[in-house]
């Protein structure tokens, strides 16, 4: 059920977009109004969430670490896993953002029947799938710049040559096209196959995966199978980014499904877990140096609290304490 509703939603959107791509009245709506609205929601929503994060209170210094902290000179510290300086933090963040370091450390708990014993084993598949997906997505996005730029900068055909180095078919098979679909299918299968992950999965998790799969599949269909009029699509894309939009008649309905999916992804982005794109930079457990023993961090949100110290309390009840024969801090320190 958690997967069926998102799947039905995606298929419904695909059906509506395909029908809309056939009808002359809705082509401008899907090809012009929808992308602009989606981009507006994306930019404003993304900025809004990041600004709200920036203004939220961070009272304590809370890096989580997994290496030896810098202490005495003769104890070897781990400056990246337990950074005590900005440079270490930068290295740690770079490893996290570019190589998903914390997923690489993923381990899976498993209850062994005989015993029973609880076993923890390394599990690198999630790391590999996530890395393959994210890097492929980046390459695919950069490749799409060729539709939005005129003249096309020279590095884009060069990137196509690298991505198509297998030289299979015409147009040439892009490695990232195959990898992104394989990775998405793995990430999806993982949510079904593993009982605990299935229990933890929410409709939003499936929605994002189905949506990304939909975008990839429609793109692949257009490039390798149904074929499209690239000239018309380039005109449409260029028109959008130069604010002189037009929808050429030669653009087929499948393209509108692709474009609607992409617009939906943009519009859905700020409201979803996909915001981890911005959030990863703002994770206080990762982007702070673990120097709270070397430097004093005062909570900037502290306000003056009326306190009654022990000294004041002892002063107040001095006679009573003394007459009961109880020890007094004041006299002990004097002696």
């Amino acid at each position: 059920m958690k997967a069926l509703v998102p799947l039905a939603a995606i298929l419904g959107v695909a059906g509506l977009a395909y029908a809309g791509g056939l009808l002359p009245g809705t082509r401008a709506l899907l090809g012009v109004v929808l992308p602009y609205a989606a981009m507006g929601i994306f930019l404003i929503g993304f900025s809004f969430r990041v600004v709200r994060w920036a203004w939220s209170a961070l009272p304590f210094h809370i890096p989580t670490t997994c290496g030896q902290q810098k202490s005495l000179g003769w104890i070897r510290s781990n400056p990246i896993e337990n950074p005590n300086h900005k440079a270490g933090v930068a290295a740690r963040m770079a490893l996290e953002i570019l190589l998903f370091r914390s997923l690489f450390r993923n381990s899976q708990a498993r209850l062994e029947e005989e015993g029973p014993r609880l076993l923890y084993a390394e599990n690198k598949w999630l790391w590999l799938g996530a890395l393959a997906f994210h890097w492929s997505l980046l390459v695919v996005l950069v490749r799409h710049l060729r539709y939005f730029l005129s003249p096309v900068p020279a590095f884009l055909p060069a990137l196509d040559a690298v991505d198509g180095f297998l030289q299979i078919g015409a147009p040439q098979l892009f490695v990232t096209d195959a990898v992104i679909v394989a990775a998405l299918l793995y990430l999806l299968a993982r949510r079904f196959a593993n009982g605990r992950v299935r229990y933890l999965s929410l409709p939003g998790d499936f929605f994002a995966l189905f949506l990304l799969l939909g975008i990839a599949i429609t793109g692949i269909l257009m490039r390798y199978f149904t074929k499209v009029d690239l000239e018309g699509i380039k005109q449409l894309a260029l028109g959008l980014v130069t604010f002189s939009p037009l929808v050429p008649a030669s653009v087929g309905p499948l393209f509108f499904v692709h474009l609607t999916f992409a617009s939906l992804l943009l519009a859905y982005f700020p409201f979803s877990k996909l915001m981890h794109m911005g959030g990863i930079f703002l994770s206080p457990t990762r982007n702070l140096a673990n120097d709270s023993r070397a430097r004093r961090h005062v909570n900037p949100w502290d306000y003056p609290v009326k306190v009654h110290t022990y000294q004041e309390w002892e002063e107040e009840f001095h006679d009573k304490i003394a007459s009961a024969g109880l020890p007094l801090e004041k006299e002990r320190t004097r002696a």
Binding site: L43, R146, D229, T242
Partner: protein, 131 residues
């Protein structure tokens, strides 16, 4: 406060990158119109209808290579019954000019110059060089 400077700076950078095509096209005064192609004067009909050629000419060329070079089947029977030799140089380039026809569209949509030209040459180019 110093954090906010970095966060807002990063956000500004992100918005800039996300809208990069608009800035770049504004700077280069990008022309959204596709190139007007010069159609061959002496031929009215291509080996396949326009819609098919637009999307699938690369597939046609690959099929031609396969059947002519590897299956020894060098003649193409077009949809209207006419026959053509399955040859990029003899058929396609006898009407079309690489620079005036192929390249202009490929450049416009940013489709990479394919490896056809690693072996084939444009006969028009050869004539110019001979002189």
């Amino acid at each position: 406060m110093r954090d906010k400077f970095w966060i807002l700076g990063g956000l500004l950078l992100f918005v800039g990158v996300a809208t990069l095509p608009t800035w770049r096209d504004w700077e280069t005064h990008a022309n959204t119109r596709p190139p007007a192609l010069v159609l061959p004067a002496h031929a009215k009909q291509c080996v396949a209808p326009l819609d098919f050629m637009r999307g699938s000419h690369m597939q046609l060329l690959l099929d031609w290579r396969q059947s002519a070079v590897r299956e020894n089947n060098p003649t193409y029977v077009a949809y209207d019954g006419k026959t053509y030799p399955k040859s990029l140089t003899k058929t396609c380039l006898s009407c079309h000019d690489k620079r005036e026809f192929c390249d202009r569209c490929h450049d416009y949509v940013g489709a990479r110059t394919p490896y056809c030209w690693n072996c084939h040459v444009d006969p028009a180019l050869g004539k110019g060089a001979a002189r």
